[in-house]
């Protein structure tokens, strides 16, 4: 069944594959084009660097006239992210425009990571530490970055993202391989 919103989502997916923005990837789940899973890589030279954060995007038949519901699945520690993973971001609420697409949403969330808005705190501890104790803030962020690696493979196969997961995960996978090779060669020891 194709509807205007589904057609638009197919278009979003095609654009995401043909012209992928740096550091984000996403795809619809296997059986429902209205439910997407995405991954945002923590931007370099920020406390979130090297994090692989999973998100879910839930669209309705009103898309693109209504924004999707976007949530972090991976644990997040950020002034504008609630405990349940929902995100406080103006373009996903009152500043939404039907000209946004999945790529725009994901890159906006990616840049929100290092540019929190302390005026609309969703996690008061994160907001407080961000403003008053940056060192402790970065320590807490480092913890969720490391957690994002541990949980990364857990739900693998949930989404049609397999291709993306494969290529994106190669970073992690290759590291493991290299370590194995190092161990196997033995001569170094």
């Amino acid at each position: 069944m194709t509807t205007p919103s589904r057609r638009r989502l197919m278009r979003d997916f095609k654009k995401l594959q043909e012209d992928p923005p740096a550091g984000v990837s996403g795809a619809p789940t296997e059986d429902n084009i209205l439910a997407w899973e995405a991954i945002i890589f923590g931007p370099q030279e920020t406390p979130f660097e090297d994090g692989t954060f999973k998100l879910s995007l839930e669209f309705t038949e009103e898309y693109p006239n209504k924004p999707p519901t976007v949530k972090f699945i991976s644990k997040m520690f950020h002034p504008n992210v609630y405990a349940d993973g929902s995100i406080c971001l103006d373009i996903l609420q009152n500043r939404w425009s039907p000209t946004y697409d999945v790529a725009a949403i994901l890159t906006s969330i990616q840049s929100l990571l290092d540019e929190p808005n302390p005026n609309s705190p969703a996690n008061s501890l994160a907001a407080q530490l961000y403003q008053e104790n940056r060192r402790e803030y970065e320590k807490r962020v480092q913890q969720i970055v490391e957690q994002s690696w541990l949980n990364f493979g857990e739900n693998e196969g949930d989404a049609v993202m397999k291709d993306d997961v494969d290529t994106d995960e190669i970073g992690g996978g290759q590291d493991d391989d290299r370590m194995d090779e190092g161990g196997a060669s033995g001569s170094n020891a």
């Binding site: 278009r11 009103e62 006239n65 209504k66 039907p98 000209t99 697409d101």
Partner: protein, 139 residues
Amino acid sequence: MDQMQVDEPMNDAPQRNEDQQNEPDQGKNYAQQKDRERGPNGGVVLETNTRLNITIKKMHVCGEWRWLRGGEDTCGICRMEFESACNMCKFPGDDCPLVVGTCRHAFHRHCIEKWIAAPTNQPKAQCPLCRQDWQIQEQ
């Protein structure tokens, strides 16, 4: 063989000159000829300046059209080209023409109408691209 090939154009030469003199009337000639000469399968035989026999059996005619005030190539809302149907239409055309706002941003009519009616866009209709108040530019 070589000699024959060289000879052929020579023999044709006078004929070719005749054709060139007749050029202004060629259209008329062709029209007459079209009725006169039909190929074996009902195709139209083309008059040529060589000894080639060309019969046109079948022709596909293609056309291209554009909205006059397009500007950018795709509608920012449905992401389809302006000249193709919006996500709600089966076929492009006058039912869903291009609509240009006073801010000069253009969208498919159906796309911008749906956005203006959307609860997300209340209380005041804004252009999805520049957030200025949306007003249609008079043609």
